[in-house]
Symmetry: C2
Subunit: 154 residues, 2 copies
Amino acid sequence: MGRMSPRPAPEHLRAWRALLVAHRRLVDRLAQELEEARQLPLTWYDVLVHLAEEPQRRLRMSDLAGRVLLSQSGLTRLVDRMADAGLVTRERCPTDRRGTFVVPTPRGLSTLEAAAPGHLAGVATHFAEHLDEREAALLGDVLERIAGALDAPA
Amino acid sequence: MGRMSPRPAPEHLRAWRALLVAHRRLVDRLAQELEEARQLPLTWYDVLVHLAEEPQRRLRMSDLAGRVLLSQSGLTRLVDRMADAGLVTRERCPTDRRGTFVVPTPRGLSTLEAAAPGHLAGVATHFAEHLDEREAALLGDVLERIAGALDAPA
DNA sequence: GAAGATTGAATTTTCAATCTTC
DNA sequence: GAAGATTGAAAATTCAATCTTC
């Protein structure tokens, strides 16, 4: 007998498509608002957030690439642009000279601080206001489960 | 008194971040599997799906751009490539000669048919299997609500 | 003059190759 | 020889300008 490949149920397919559309519209809108308010690309904001969250205020290039969901070489170029703009600098890793740390400059940190309230307000308005606490918890659980299962390489 | 801008609750922020990570990992993985199995970019697959779903098997350039979440000019280029590959053709709109229809070729439709089971199996494995019916329904509702609210232009 | 679509130029991202250090 | 990162060349996407038709 032919083994059918698993097919998502209609309800699951609807959720999947809604995920694609909602994600795209949210990211587009938030990026547009951040650009208009602060002339700051969302990817730059994202880099600064991840750096600022580190206790040492620094991340290796490869770790940062994973955080911002970009390829190695894509991140090299992104950091180039942000360094040109004076928002981050590179520091050699003392214990392993192959490694490079990305470190936010004071100006990078203040740029983040200035942009964060507006951006978070956007997340609240366009995303959070549509979910109650219970729904947010469920969404977080489900999506973390999905992402976790995809963590291991193909 | 200074009015605070709305800040997402921690639970909401967690859900938002999970959405970003899950989306990226899902799309990356599904694109990779489709490329390996069928040498077909996920964006091409997406175009073919939306065309095949239309009763008339055709969409105007601008409508298709909305469906696949691409800019007008981005879609022009994408359709160029797919036409070069023989998967779609352009047809002039008879009632409005400014308009252009994109129509899948027989080869485009058979490419879609060949690719769909494997891709849907991927959606089942990487996405649907992690949600029960009730969770899928909630996810769909919430995300459609969010996307709907962003429908109107900025 | 506006709508639908395309084009040229510029930007962003990736792949493969390379270079340095382990 | 592998890991961390960068570079050149190529691919994909966007913005502004353009062209055609309404």
